[in-house]
């Protein structure tokens, strides 16, 4: 059995989704941790220093390429699988109440699409000015560092942007609520003792992380962070 055969079978494609999905989850941990520095109450100094480290450290810049590849594979494979799976029914049922499954488990393609739209907006807001156009003011404590913190405050003065970010976080929460635990099923976790722990961790993760992300634009809009 060649590697190509392994990863193009229906189970293999799900493995690709699960592996890239968990990789992206690990990215979320780093991202939420670093961004939580905005609450350090130091005018954004710690956050800007963190952002500078992430942007200038060569190892991290190489890992960033890996991150983009991870996103790319997850998105392409996700759309390919969803399209294939949606084509398997043929004639639709007249009565289709979605018995026995959660709406978000059945809507991973839709939630993923919402997240993709959010991602494009998010990259446009912060990644492009900090990495590509370098269109950011200097940090007050060090002219060589960008003041990404003040850009965040600026972006989150627009209530529409804040609402879009919160909606993005809600999509993320539901996407994770299914994706976290389902990935481990795909990896073959059948032991009910382990699986119930994974499920609990997955639900906690899918509430805590998106909630922390959602509080960032909200606290900046409401002026809790200056």
């Amino acid at each position: 059995m060649t590697w190509k055969q392994v990863f193009t079978s229906t189970i293999g494609q799900k493995l690709v989704m699960g592996l890239t999905g968990l990789f992206l989850i690990s990215f979320l941990v780093v991202h939420v941790g670093l961004n939580a520095c905005i609450w350090a109450d130091d005018g954004g100094k710690m956050f800007n220093q963190g952002a500078h480290f992430m942007g200038s450290m060569v190892v991290i810049r190489i890992m960033e390429i890996g991150l983009f590849i991870g996103f790319f594979i997850h998105i392409i494979q996700g759309y390919a699988l969803t399209a294939y799976n949606n084509s398997r029914r043929g004639t639709a049922y007249r009565v289709n109440k979605g018995y026995g499954s959660k709406w978000y488990s059945r809507s991973m393609g839709l939630l993923g699409t919402l997240l993709l739209l959010f991602l494009i907006m998010h990259i446009w807001h912060f990644w492009v000015p900090s990495r590509i156009t370098q269109d950011l003011p200097e940090a007050s404590y060090n002219p060589e560092h960008h003041d990404l913190f003040s850009r965040m405050i600026l972006v989150f003065q627009d209530p529409i942007v804040v609402v879009l970010y919160v909606l993005g976080c809600i999509s993320l929460a539901y996407h994770l609520a299914h994706g976290f635990k389902a990935a481990f099923r795909t990896f073959g976790v059948h032991n009910s003792r382990y699986y119930s722990t994974i499920k609990a961790v997955g639900y906690a993760f899918s509430v805590i992380v998106p909630l922390a992300f959602a509080m960032m634009p909200v606290s900046m809009y409401l002026g809790w962070v200056k």
Binding site: T2, L15, N86, R88, R89, R106, A182, R185, G188
Partner: protein, 254 residues
């Protein structure tokens, strides 16, 4: 339980043959006893159709005691109807009340094409079994049952997986028309037992390859299959299938 009679409207999918487009037809049935089984209600309806010179409704059924896996009706949006852990033949009319409208559809999956009315061609399952869902043993006298020690827990899990009757309700409810609960049950049943060991790796690879050829979708673990399975096959069997598949495919020599 109190006995009562009811009048019902039954909306049934009618399709002459596999090439016919098909459509729903509405029928009225009167004085249906609450103690009839769902299939007996269909027998009454068919008698009525024959009496009126119409073509009776074709539907699969065999043992009518919930163990063969032949009956397969998608009743009001759920395979085998409203009761949990029940096949269509064991569903009884006391699940409905006077004046109800019941919508009955065939299993819907490209891998299960409709042959006529409510009858679908489920031979894809047979071909998946033929691809690996067996153990090769020498003929001769049966060995003594106690000569191969098997842990109680494993024997119980294998037996629970072996309870699968191959009706296809899991495929019918799955939004992806995936057959993985069925395959998971068949693979688990043999992977848990020493008799399944010699063909353990080829079995899972060949069965998944055959399922992919038949056109079943990929499993996205929504849990709907487990919820409608008349034999309550656990979705943990799908995880075991995935594990078996990884073990077999990652360790393949070529």
């Amino acid at each position: 339980m109190e006995h009562y009679n009811m009048n019902l409207t039954v909306e049934v999918w009618r399709q002459k043959n596999k090439d016919d487009k098909g459509g729903f037809k509405s029928y009225k049935v009167k004085d249906i006893s609450s103690e009839m089984s769902f299939l007996e209600m269909f027998d009454v309806l068919n008698e009525q159709l024959v009496h009126n010179g119409e073509e009776p409704i074709a539907f699969d059924h065999d043992c009518r005691e919930g163990i063969c896996g032949a009956c397969s009706m998608y009743i009001n949006g759920k395979p085998h109807g409203p009761w949990a852990a029940t096949t269509t033949c064991q569903l009884h009319m006391r699940a409905f009340k006077d004046g109800d409208t019941i919508v009955v559809e065939p299993w819907r999956a490209k891998a299960f094409p409709v042959i006529k009315d409510l009858v679908t061609d489920r031979s894809a399952f047979d071909r998946i079994i033929a691809a690996g869902g067996y153990v090769s043993v020498n003929t001769g006298n049966a060995v003594d049952g106690n000569s191969l020690p098997i842990e109680k827990e494993k024997a119980d899990s294998a037996f629970a997986a072996a309870a699968c009757i191959g009706c296809g309700a899991c495929v019918a409810i799955c939004k992806n028309s995936s057959a993985n609960l069925f395959i998971g049950a068949k693979v688990s049943h043999l992977a848990l037992l020493p008799q399944g060991e010699p063909e353990r790796r080829t079995r899972v690879i060949n069965m998944i390859e055959q399922a992919d050829k038949e056109g079943f979708g990929a499993c996205t673990v929504t849990g709907a299959c487990e919820a409608v399975c008349p034999k309550e096959i656990s979705i943990a069997n799908i995880a075991r299938l995935n594990k078996e598949y990884m073990n077999a495919s990652f360790s393949s020599d070529k």
